[in-house]
Amino acid sequence: MATANKTRPSMGVHRRDQLNKILVTGFGLFIVLMFVAPLLYMFVTGLKSYDQMNDSEVPAIWPFSRTTFDYQGTPLDLYKLPTANGTKEMAMLKPGRTESVFIDPQNPVAGPITWQGNWRLLAPIYHSDPQWKNFIQAWNELNFPLLLRNTLIIALTGTLGAVVSGIIVAYGFARFNFRGRDFLFIVLIGTIVLPVQATLIPTYILYSKIHWTNTFLPLIVPNFFANAYNVFLLRMYFMQLPRELDEAAMIDGASPIQILLNVILPQSIPAVTAVCLFHFFFAWNDFFSPLVYLASNSKLWPISVGLQYYNAMHGRLPNLIQTGALITIILPVTIFFLAQRVFMQGIVFTGVEK
């Protein structure tokens, strides 16, 4: 009886569900298109030459070049010319408003042919001509290997410091209850909203006094003293691990350090991986700190600063700038596609459970 009642209206419901599926998925795909369009722009523009970029008559967004015919040593643009025997591909020797002179590429010895009409109404002939050499040029002009090396040094050592110190401090907050702990935790969380500018000038002066400016040290060393996001995420993870194993280990005489290394850490691989990824990407993206601390030593610039400088210097060559942007995003985007599951879980941990 109940099933009979349910199946009857579900015929209509089923059809409406199908419609909703098409509508929602269609709208979703529309947004996908909008989200991918900038990347498509970067890719095709990065493959164009300067002339290709500025050729407004080009029929599509792909890098096309005008097809030419070599006539007595000069390349002539080919046009589609309407003739008595249908459209013919002809090389234009001399454009004119009322009559133009063409060469038949099939039969150049026949000499110039005069055609009556405005050449501007003729469609030029294009062929696909992507400039793969842009990659080599942008790679060299950016000095990408050096930028990559600097970025990796900063990001990897910084990640090591952030993860090790994050684990230690998070363990202290998660497993040891003492007077003042909760207050300290609020102070820690408060530092999340603290703008870096509030501490910037004195730390900059301090670093320049001890000759740390124009070295990697200001970008690396502070990470070894734990950061609120990482501690927050790791503490949350540690707290949901069962205490029984800790207590069993303690009864067996294990010290807190041994418990952290042998009991807590082996169970926390996902959280530690997430923190590694977060910090690595944070350091990879960071622009402000390297701009401040490495401004006058371009040999130490990371990708972010190098790319911005390249952009500022090559304002007249937007195609190469797009090639440069493409070169710099390949690695982070690839890592993201490989590790997205861990990554998104980590965001949920830090962003929701507050």
Partner: protein, 320 residues
Amino acid sequence: MKADVQAIGSAQKTTKKRQGHSAQNRFNTKWGLIFLSPWIFGFFVFTLIPIIATLVFSFTNYSPVTPESTVFVGLKNYSDMIADKNVANSFMVTIKYAILALPLSLVFGLLLATIVNSKYLMGKNFFRTIYYMPAMIPVIAAGIIMAGIMNTNTGFINMGLESVGIPGPDWLNSTFWIYPALVLIGLWGLGNLMVTLLAGMQGVAKELYESAEIDGANGYQQYLYITLPLISPVIFYNLTMMIIGAFKYFDLAYVLKNGTGGPAGATNFYNLYLYKNAFQYNLMGFGSAMAWVLFIIVLALTIILFTTSGRWVFYSGGKQ
């Protein structure tokens, strides 16, 4: 097994209450502080002392070029700030951007999260990955790519607008359109907002929707009266971070206009102007005053948002 553990637990509790109480406390305090020490040290050296030092510097005319002639100038930097038209302008720029960016980002983030949470969406993982992906593009590269797509000659946006007969604006060189342009760039990288809102939505108990369905609530009503109130803490958290983020805004303004603050000061964000004063004009005393004002603003905003949150944020476990 479980009973054993509980027995140990309760035994510990009783010992804790009696003679073991202080020993246990001492143990916890000692080890807790040992493990917290890296952060406590870092907090003093990299946060607390520098904040106070910033305040001290803000009363001086310190310049790294002529450090020997540093003197206390009282409140001069602060009165200079009030007199400086560029400071007032940088405030207005920041607020204009925030007023436009906050609601649009929130609505668009909710839209993305709602789509990827919809039971009607086929191939959810594909959509989640693609929607999140721009957030992984380093901000400098993202700025360059989006500046390209907004290019008046070759950019897709104006090409699309022109194909339907609308003349596209000069996004990055107009004192008006630069703000929508910055917001658009921000919308492209809303992955974190989407993921946190999505997690909030998935945390809402299914039973609530089922009983609402029985009561005859349609999908729209369910969204308005169940989903939104229940994810309001997540919305609140993100809103707080976005407001503070507006006062920290720097990277995109710098890369799009090469740090000039143009057109006509329209991207001279507070933070960018602070940076220029401290590191380009070497006015570190003035920069410190700006930094302290920024610190106070952020602190005040945070306090206001958190003290009023009880009125409009719904916490399912009662007030937090």
